[in-house]
């Protein structure tokens, strides 16, 4: 994990630019995660101080939302949809294949730090289930073979 001292100026910058925004905590957390890839636990104190909140309140918000993470993600984040439409199209088999291929469960990162695997409940791509995202791209009608191709393509861009 990176040293927080090198991340701190970025966090303070983001806090500064959201100072006057009403309801600014989520936008701030998004800003930090977009920039650093996660919310460093040490940032919580700075956030709390800037917003006049307790550390517990900030931690409570971070932990409430599935999307926010406090550990660095792998180089690529793969999200697999677990919702009904994808289940109706063998999403469960795809989920098992992905876990087996990557050797990790949901919310885990491969030891080589290449891939993080997350569950997601609907990507709005239900007309072409099952769906996954690789980083910011959505893929529809994903078979285990197509999953392997997408993983191979990620590895090709190491």
């Amino acid at each position: 994990m990176q040293d927080y001292q090198s991340q701190k100026p970025i966090v303070l910058d983001i806090l500064d630019s959201h100072q006057v925004m009403p309801g600014n905590l989520l936008p701030i957390l998004h800003g930090i995660q977009d920039t650093l890839g996660y919310i460093p636990p040490s940032a919580i104190e700075d956030i709390a101080k800037a917003l006049y909140l307790s550390k517990a309140e900030v931690h409570g918000v971070i932990s409430f939302y599935h999307y926010f993470r406090t550990t660095p993600p792998g180089k690529h984040t793969i999200r697999i949809c677990r919702a009904e439409s994808c289940q109706a199209m063998n999403g469960k088999a795809l989920e098992n294949h992905a876990k087996k291929t990557l050797g990790i469960d949901f919310h885990e990162t491969t030891p080589d730090e290449q891939f993080s695997l997350e569950a997601v409940y609907c990507l709005g791509n239900c007309a072409c289930s099952p769906s996954i995202t690789v980083d910011d791209e959505v893929y529809g009608r994903v078979t285990p073979e197509k999953f392997d191709q997408l993983i191979a393509a990620c590895k090709g861009t190491k």
């Binding site: 917003l51 999307y67 009904e84 199209m89 609907c122 239900c126 769906s131 959505v138």
Partner: protein, 514 residues
């Protein structure tokens, strides 16, 4: 110069629309052919995406589904002139799936360039706002009330009544909040509007602002929709530049500001009070009601919280009048509903139609039955909190009251189709598991009931004291239905009980039909 249309809709992108657009541009360039590619919304016939449409003197000619390897033959065969090819579909608006729709809210989706405000205006955009600017707030609300529009997010509460409450609530500041946290599986109409015609939502929210005296709007958009965020922000910027948002809308002296806020992957934030908490920067805990958000909403001020489709239906109501919209539909379900047909279905897509069509018509006449070719066993309508409907209920007309009468939920019109390989006991278990995962934790029936629900269903499946545990499950469902604060815990019993009642054999329960 040839003008082509290739969708920027997420689903089209998930099937390779970007690659197709890039390859056409590249190959046309290398042949010295001059092409302009417009990235439009999707027509909603998703089995034909990526769809390529070309503008010709006889109208648009469509080709699909197009893959990169088809492009050389398409260009050689005269794609740019709209000539015949095995992938040629003719005019997509003449396709039976499209032709038999009533496209009111989705009139422009797939037709226009979604982020081009001139294109929006050229296709009747901002006519509704123009009319609204000449009306008193109460008259705008009256039009919406007269239209019979009910909340399209699922709860079907009359939109006009909600607006009237906010109009009559005195306050120094009011808000318009768009619920764009479309978290239900089997739904994508909100996303298609935001990606395919974002201006219609912006216009609808602006009219709502004028109607109740709100000067600030927020679109609470789920984080899973990055392409919608891009399209919305492009459209909002352009609306500001052209004076359709800001401090002096079209010289009227009226003010309306609009901003997109991202959610963070919490399903419960689709519940309006949880959404407001989230917008305020807090955990998405559901609030007690009353007070209603219309009286004490965002930051404690009177607030309209409406779903994307509800707000996006307002411009056509204000353009053509409440009566025009109300003339579609049946009973107390007026206007149109954009059906979203997904899961195991041969021709999945978006089908906007007046209320009244039956489930069977849409599933078999337009969507071609299951994708697997096996019999359709169950359809879950209305999202993860909607009931599983067996074949015997497929003749139910799409109408809020007709669905409610049989213990089902029409909701937002999203439907997920399952063939006969689906085990409904597994789906009932999943419904409880989903509630465990997504409960906000504020009320006990939802927070703990869902955990106990998974355990009880497991025992039924494992054949442990089956009769006793089935009774216990029904009792637990009753507690959740009656005792939960919001629909998360309150409606999780719908899929569970419908699975148990209509498919007891999946729970290993023998039906005594003797």
């Amino acid at each position: 110069m040839a003008r082509l249309f290739i969708s920027r809709d997420s689903t089209a992108l998930s099937l390779g629309a970007d690659n197709v657009a890039n390859a056409i541009k590249q190959q046309a360039d290398s042949k010295g052919l001059n092409v302009e590619i417009v990235r439009n919304g999707s027509r909603g016939l998703f089995w034909l995406e990526p769809l390529v449409e070309v503008e010709t003197a006889q109208g648009r000619v469509a080709y699909g589904p197009v893959q990169v390897e088809d492009i050389a033959s398409l260009l050689d065969g005269g794609l740019l002139d709209g000539t015949q090819h095995p992938l040629c579909l003719g005019n997509i608006e003449e396709h039976p799936f499209f032709k038999n729709q009533h496209r009111l809210t989705f009139a422009r989706v797939g037709l226009t360039d979604p982020v081009n405000i001139e294109d929006y205006i050229a296709h009747d955009g901002y006519q509704g706002l123009k009319n609204a600017l000449n009306l008193q707030p109460a008259d705008i609300v009256k039009h919406v009330t007269d239209s019979g529009l009910r909340g399209r997010g699922g709860a079907a509460f009359p939109t006009g009544i909600k607006w009237n409450t906010v109009l009559n609530a005195p306050a120094d500041q009011k808000y318009i909040v768009c619920n764009a946290d479309e978290g239900d599986s089997g739904t994508f109409s909100d996303r298609m509007i935001m990606e395919g015609d974002p201006f219609v939502l912006i216009e609808g929210m602006t009219i709502a602002g004028l109607a109740v005296g709100a000067t600030q709007g927020y679109i609470y958009l789920r984080i899973e929709y990055p392409h919608a965020k891009i399209a919305l922000n492009q459209a909002i910027e352009s609306a500001y530049q052209q004076g359709y948002l800001g401090d002096n809308i079209q010289g009227s002296g009226k003010t309306f500001h609009l901003e997109v806020r991202s959610g963070a992957g919490a399903y419960v934030c689709g519940e309006e009070t949880s959404l407001l908490e989230s917008l305020e920067g807090k955990r998405g805990l559901v609030r007690f009601k009353p007070p209603l958000p219309a009286i004490v909403g965002l930051f404690g001020k009177p607030t309209i919280v409406n779903n994307v489709i509800s707000l996006a239906s307002v411009p056509i109501i204000m353009d053509k009048g409440g009566d025009y919209y109300r003339d579609y539909g049946m009973g107390r379900s007026r206007g149109t509903l954009p059906l979203q047909i997904a899961g195991n279905i041969k021709y999945p897509g978006l089908f906007e139609v007046a209320f009244g069509m039956t489930l069977r018509e849409i599933l078999y006449d337009y969507c071609g039955g299951s994708a697997s070719g096996r019999p359709i066993r169950a359809v879950q309508v209305g999202g993860p909190l909607g009931a599983y409907m067996p074949e015997s209920q497929f003749d139910t007309p799409l109408d809020y009251e007709a669905f409610a009468a049989i213990g089902a939920v029409l909701g937002h019109g999203g439907m997920v189709v399952h063939d006969d390989t689906t085990n409904l006991a597994d789906m009932a278990r999943y419904a409880m598991e989903f509630c465990v995962e997504e409960s906000c934790g504020k009320c006990t029936p939802c927070r703990i009931g869902s955990v106990r629900g998974v355990e009880v269903i497991d025992r039924i499946i494992d054949n442990v004291d089956k009769t006793k545990n089935t009774e216990l499950l029904r009792d637990l469902c009753d507690t959740m239905l009656c005792g939960s604060l919001c629909a998360m815990g309150g409606m999780t019993p719908y899929p569970v009980l419908s699975a148990l009642n209509h498919f007891p054999e999946d729970f290993g329960i023998e039906t005594s039909k003797a």
